[in-house]
Amino acid sequence: MSIYLKLGATLLGFLIVLNWGMLMSAIFRKIVARLAGRHGIPFYQPWIDLLKNIGIRTTLTHGVMFYLGPIFRFTGALGMFLFMPALFGSDLWANFSFQGDIVLILYFQLFGMLGMALGAGEGGHPHSTIGITRGLAQHAAIELPLTLGIIALAIQYQTLSLNEIIAAQQGGMANWSIFTNPVAGAAILLAALGAMGHSPFNLVKAPNEIPIGPPTEYHSTYLGVLMSSGAVLHVMEAALFMNLLFGGATSWPEFILKTFLIYFYSVFVGAVFPRFRIEQSVVWFFKIPLALGILAILLISF
Amino acid sequence: MKAIVQEITEKYNLQNAVFQRDNMAFVEVEKKFAIDLVTFLKDYHQFSHFVMMSCVDWIEDGQFQLLYLLHNPALKVDIGIKTYLNRTEPVMQSAHHLWKQIWTYQREIKEAFGIDFPGSPNVDENFVLEGWTEIPHMRRDFDTAAYSEKTYFPREGRFTHDPATYMREKLYPNQPVTAKKNTNE
């Protein structure tokens, strides 16, 4: 198979994920609207918003880092896609997962976050900084159960390679990690709530309180880039948990179904619970998720 | 209540005391005794709650009237202390030391009526308006309509209806005017 074909497939895969992410956010809002008894936005609204944002004529910049912030963010999202196999068992859709294992993905998440934080920081808006400090603190707290769970999985499968973790889960639902290692699965899924950033863990953007948080100063194309990276990141984070716990995906429909369900798991939790304060959020992760993570390691290693 | 009014009437040589209700009285006191009286009521008669402070422009008499309204939570009675200032000399002793919220009332009165309270903290800061250059806007010699006309580009062709007439004309053009009498009966 030629390298160009593979590159083309990767690009196509990215477009699929991007569009699926936008559609997913539209569906999310549509569902919320229907719950409220509204008609809601048209399903194509995110694309129009994206177009509109790109079509904005004014571009302002606070400085080079401000300009580069969304680009860092987008690269981060792109990399999340690139370093994870999109579909299992397919050479065509394996992306660049040969370049690194799950450690690379875990740390590359931070690439976009950091760049965005710096860009927003140069914007000079106090709300941006407040949002970022909360985000970083919460991220550190999430790290604890998440790492414990992932290490438990790595011990279970004796590999850090995402491809091999998926491979080990093939052959029916009973082989999925969530069933073979439910404690680690629970720890990871609770951490996933924080990673997805919906209520009650949405204190980074915290509408009504520190309006929009870090991207307060971002507009026009910047905002478009941020929106699309957000869309990709939502899908790919769901995909990460899918690959770790739910046996990965072998076809695009399966991919779409599974990421949809995982994404909406966090959405529904968010619909029920109000927002935490930062110290509540951090302490929350230090309680049950941490205990579950430790238990997972104890169970798997002794 | 009556006893209190009696006592302060003798003590401060009050000209006029009106009982609005059983538990509410208004007294008029000379300007120079006003803060003394407020302090006396606060310290000796437990009028510990400062309800509000207001100002009225009696332009015809050439006077500003200041009203300090106090409340006694133990007896559940209110007393209003009125005092008059000369419009030509709008300066009043500040009472900011008694209750902190008086700072704000005095700041407001300074802006709206131009009555100065020397020594009151922040009394010169803007209260509602920013950058007001005219005479204080709540003084009755300030013509707000003229000011608006002069300043805010009034749109040509604006006219005002009497709401009652206009609505009757628009909504019930066939109804005879007598209907009004019926309602009166």
Binding site: T61, L82, Y107, L136, I151, V283 | -
Partner: protein
């Protein structure tokens, strides 16, 4: 050879002559005295030289032409020659120093002085016990005379107490002598020894009387209140003579008399020495006055010497080396110090800041203090080393602990004093002058210290291997201190470059890594020094001293060389750290922790040294005796340098308050010395035949907790440099943890972190240091928005923090990836997770560093600051290039490292296929990831650039502010207490438990000292009572049971 009898004859003759001649001029009398002392010195020097070159042998001098016991005989042996030479030389120098003072007092002073010296000489030389008594009395009376010659109540009181005490002691001695004569029929010491006095009935009591008086002369703790007052009451010049001369003579007296007694007396004397050594130094901690401090130090050193005397049986042939090494250091340094006190004339040690007005005096003071504490290249360093090694060979670890505890306590107050001198506020009105006749003797003493130090090193086989050339280079730089900064900097850089060029081919790969970090890193940080203007006095010698120490550690072949390098490095870095503006307390705590660590190392080396003929560094491999203790102590010693948890409290202050280019030196470079040590230890542990897994396991936890403590501490700092300092603690924790894993991958991780931390911490510290130089504050919340003013600095910090945080594609990720693999392979999950969690905390402080300093709102007063200095940018960007190369092509470094580590851990290696790395469980490619990310980033940038119109540039307040406008940058910049919310969640972990613990220890020592000090009431009667009680108690201890 001039007969030694002429020493006495000349002294007596001239003394009488001055008395008889009456009204001769005082100058003439003084000159005559000095000439006489010079003659005396010459005679003993001649003998000493004779013994040194081996062309004379010991000879007895018989007075009055008879053989003993009929006459008094003197012995001139090697020891006597040496001691009389020293005493006479000091006497000569003291005479010069005191010349003016004596002249004012009259010619009698000269006579008494001369008689005193003669007394010392005879006490040393005589072999007749009654003669000994007589001349002891003569010295006592002369001493009292010289004390009383001073004016003032203190002098009178001191002299009176001294007379009282010595008369009690003399009467004891006299009674003992009478009985001894009665029993043995002789007064000759040699004959008394032969007569086996101790087996006779009542013999033990006689021996007790004689020895107890000899011991009391040495001012044992606590019956020494009378002696302490002498040091304080007498003229400083004379206190020095008392401290040196009397002490020498009395010690030698005890030495001579000891053979009379039974061997268990050695034990008692050692015990008394130990009590005195620790007791006096403990009390020294509480002292505030300069002379009092020196007095306690003198008594403490006497105790140490008694200890050596008592333990001489275990030292074998080294006894003289040890004894005289410590004695000579003490005599020279203490005398010089007393004389320095005489010049500086500051009573309280806090007032010694005035010494900075004359930097040369400060240098002298430094030499004396470091000599007293036992740093190389002074003789006591080598002697203490030999002493400890010999004791360990006999398993006497209790005694080693005594020596270490006492030395440590002594270091506490001496270093504190030095700290005051270097750093405390100098706002005192009084001034002092340097007089040439006072300073010359001190300079001679200082020179002697160095020279003797060199010769002491040459005495032993291992010591002779030590390379003194770097030290010489330091000395050259010291004397070139008047040159402008760029000359000195160039010399220093060239020197280090040449050194590197000549040494690196001889090193194995392991050492080469550290050599590169130490020397190349040193050169890079020195480049930043071009930024400074003026002379920057004192910087280059100490910086080079540190680098010389580091180089010596790398090159060390023996444990002694290693320890020598270690101590040099400690001294140099101490001086570097204390240069900072507010560094005084931090430098002290650095010094104390370093010394504690060094003593732990000493102990460990001594354990490793047991039964070893040649102490090469290889003896650390597979230590056979007490391996857990030895390796545990080694690790504890090295962990003080890596600032691991529990031993880390010195670091934030020391690194945070240091100068801008010193911080990277001490953080990025110096800490790696600890890492090198830990690595050596672990290599040794790896080859051990014992199972030391538990030790490694504990070390792993220590490392993991250190990461957590360091990173969490960094999150809540307001001071940029302290933040980086706490971060260093954390990063060193990573390194320690990784090495403790003790697998191939673990060590690879450790090395990766070591190299990385060197580069990014140097970048960060250099940049932040340079920024601090520009903005004039350490507080991050006082900065902000500096990206507009210093873009290059911003880029440097950006790359530094990306690398530190471990975000791909920079080199930090290399470490993180290896870490995951190593941790999972080893099975240290919980430690590993704690470390990863702390990695998340790193984001918090790194973001804070870059946000509050470079992003956000530019402060008003910083609107015009310039880009950081060019001279800082050079090393920063060189290091950044290094970082980028390491990030893009990790295989270049990691592959050779893998082969190196395979020597120790051949299993489970990292497999390289081109640029792809594989472990048993994971895979990753540095180059590929770097290219992918670059392509993605540039592609996105291009897309965005094409789809936007030209961007309008905004200024700092052009932000949406809820319809309002900001009024001040200070109130718009979110910086102070940035993680308040997070603090509410984690505050229990930030409580300073370790600081509380060490404070408690320090309070405990102080309070104990304060309590014990109450026995020194200053009352003469009480002091006499002490002496009597001491005698009674000693009686019961020594022979009470046998009668």
């Amino acid at each position: 050879m001039v007969d030694p009898i002429y020493i006495i004859a000349a002294a007596l003759g001239v003394g009488f002559a001055i008395g008889i001649l009456g009204n001769i001029g005082r100058n003439f009398a003084g000159g005559l005295t000095l000439a006489t002392i010079a003659f005396m010195s010459f005679v003993s020097a001649q003998w000493f030289a004779g013994f040194y070159f081996g062309n004379v042998s010991s000879s007895y001098i018989f007075t009055a032409g008879f053989q003993p016991p009929l006459s008094i005989n003197l012995l001139m042996g090697a020891e006597e020659a040496f001691l009389t030479f020293i005493v006479n030389l000091l006497g000569l120098l003291g005479g010069i120093y005191l010349f003016v003072n004596f002249k004012r007092k009259g010619r009698n002073a000269f006579v008494i002085y001369l008689v005193l010296l003669m007394g010392f000489n005879v006490v040393i030389m005589t072999r007749d016990i009654f003669n000994l008594f007589v001349f002891l009395e003569i010295t006592s009376i002369a001493t009292a005379g010289l004390i009383l010659i001073e004016k003032g109540n203190r002098a009178v009181g001191a002299g009176f107490k001294y007379l009282l005490a010595t008369s009690i002691i003399s009467s004891m001695l006299l009674i003992g002598i009478i009985f001894a004569y009665f029993y043995t029929g002789t007064l000759n010491i040699d004959m008394i020894i032969e007569s086996n006095l101790r087996y006779m009935v009542g013999g033990p009591i006689i021996i007790f009387l004689i020895l107890i008086s000899a011991i009391l002369e040495l001012k044992p703790f606590p019956a020494n209140g009378w002696g302490l007052d002498v040091y304080e009451g007498a003229h400083q010049g004379f206190s020095a003579i008392v401290s040196a001369g009397t002490a020498t003579a009395s010690l030698y007296m005890l030495y001579k008399l000891l053979p009379i007694a039974s061997p268990e007396w050695s034990y008692y004397i050692a015990l008394l020495g130990a009590v005195t050594f620790i007791g006096a130094n403990l009390l020294g901690v509480k002292q505030r006055f300069a002379r009092r401090v020196l007095a306690y130090s003198s008594v403490g050193q006497l105790g140490l010497l008694m200890l050596i005397l008592g333990l001489r049986g275990f030292l074998g042939p080294n006894v003289n080396y040890v004894f005289f090494g410590i004695l000579i250091t003490n005599i020279l340094a203490k005398t010089g110090f007393f004389w320095l006190v005489g010049i500086v004339k500051a009573n309280e040690i806090k007032e010694w800041a005035i010494i900075r007005r004359k930097p040369f005096l400060l240098f002298l003071m430094g030499v004396f203090i470091f000599a007293l504490v036992g740093f190389p290249p002074f003789p006591s360093f080598f002697s203490k080393w030999t002493f400890v090694m010999d004791l360990a060979n006999h398993g006497l670890f209790g005694w080693i602990s005594v020596i270490i505890i006492g030395s440590f306590l002594e270091a506490v107050y001496l270093m504190r004093w030095f700290g005051y001198a270097v750093k405390s506020e100098d706002d005192y009105k009084f001034d002092f002058k340097i007089q040439i006749h006072k300073i010359t003797p001190i300079i001679i003493l200082t020179a002697l210290l160095f020279v003797i130090g060199y010769f002491t090193a040459q005495f032993t086989e291992t010591g002779a291997m030590i390379n003194f050339i770097p030290l010489l280079f330091v000395a050259v730089l010291y004397f070139a201190d008047a040159l402008p900064i760029w000359v000195k900097n160039t010399i220093a850089i060239l020197g280090m470059g040449i050194y590197f060029y000549f040494t690196y081919p001889q090193l194995d790969n392991l050492r080469l890594i550290f050599e590169v970090i130490f020397i190349i890193g040193g050169i890079l940080t020195l480049i930043a020094g071009y930024n400074y203007k003026g002379k920057r006095q004192g910087f280059y010698p100490v910086a080079l001293l540190m680098f010389a120490g580091l180089a010596a550690i790398i090159e060390a072949q023996t444990t002694l060389e290693f320890f020598y390098g270690w101590e040099l490095m400690t001294a140099g870095s101490y001086f570097l750290i204390i240069r900072g503006k507010k560094s005084m307390p931090h430098a002290l705590s650095y010094m104390l922790f370093s010394l504690g660590g060094a003593y732990a190392l000493l102990m460990a080396f001594s354990i490793a040294n047991i039964g070893v003929v040649f102490p090469s560094l290889d003896i650390l491999n597979n230590i056979a005796n007490y391996p857990v203790w030895a390796y545990g102590l080694l690790l504890a010693g090295f962990l003080t340098k890596t600032a691991s948890v529990g031993l880390h409290i010195w670091l934030p202050g020391a690194h945070g308050e240091a100068e801008s280019d010193v911080s990277p030196m001490v953080s990025a470079i110096l800490l790696k010395a600890g890492v090198f040590g830990v690595l050596l230890t672990l290599i040794g542990m790896g080859q051990s035949t014992y199972d030391l897994g538990t030790l490694a396991y504990i070390l792993g936890w220590v490392g993991a907790i250190t990461v957590f403590v360091g990173n969490l501490g960094a999150v809540f700092q307001e001071d940029a440099k302290r933040l980086l300092a706490y971060s260093s603690i954390g990063q060193l924790g990573y390194i320690v943890f990784a090495f403790a894993i003790m697998t191939h991958l673990g060590w690879l991780t450790g090395f990766t972190y070591t190299i990385n931390h060197f580069m990014y911490k140097a970048v960060l510290f250099l940049t932040i240091g340079a920024v601090v130089l520009r903005v004039g504050t350490h507080n991050m919340y006082e900065m902000g928005g500096l990206i507009k003013r210093m873009p290059l600095a911003f880029i440097a910090v950006l790359i530094g923090i990306i690398a530190l945080s471990g975000v791909p594609p920079l080199s930090g990720f290399t470490g993180k990836w290896l870490f995951y693999n190593a941790v999972i392979e080893k099975g240290w999950y919980f430690q590993g997770v704690l470390v990863f969690f702390s990695g998340g905390l790193a984001f918090l402080y790194l973001y804070r560093l870059i946000q509050t300093v470079f992003l956000g709102q530019l402060k008003d007063n910083l609107r015009n600051v310039k880009e950081i200095s060019f001279w800082f940018l050079i090393p920063i960007y060189v290091l950044i290039i290094g970082l980028m190369v390491f990030a893009a092509m990790p295989q270049l470094v990691l592959q050779p490292l893998g082969t190196l580590i395979a020597n120790y851990f051949p299993n489970n290696q990292l497999v390289w296929e081109g640029s792809y790395a594989y472990t048993a469980i994971g895979h990753w490619t540095g180059t590929g990831v770097m290219i992918s990310i670059m392509v993605m980033f540039l592609g996105t940038l291009l897309l965005v650039k094409l789809s936007t119109r030209k961007a309008h540039k905004l200024k700092q307040f052009d932000i949406v502010f809820s319809g309002e406008r900001p009024h001040r940058p200070e109130t718009t910049h979110v910086a102070h207490n940035m993680y308040a919310g997070f603090y509410k969640a984690v505050w229990p972990f930030t409580l300073p438990a370790v600081e509380t613990f060490w404070n408690w220890i320090s309070d405990f020592i102080h309070e104990t000292a304060g309590f014990v000090r109450r026995i020194y009431s200053g009352n003469g009667q009480a002091y006499m009572l002490h002496i009597v009680l001491f005698i009674i108690i000693m009686f019961f201890i020594t022979i009470g049971g046998t009668i």
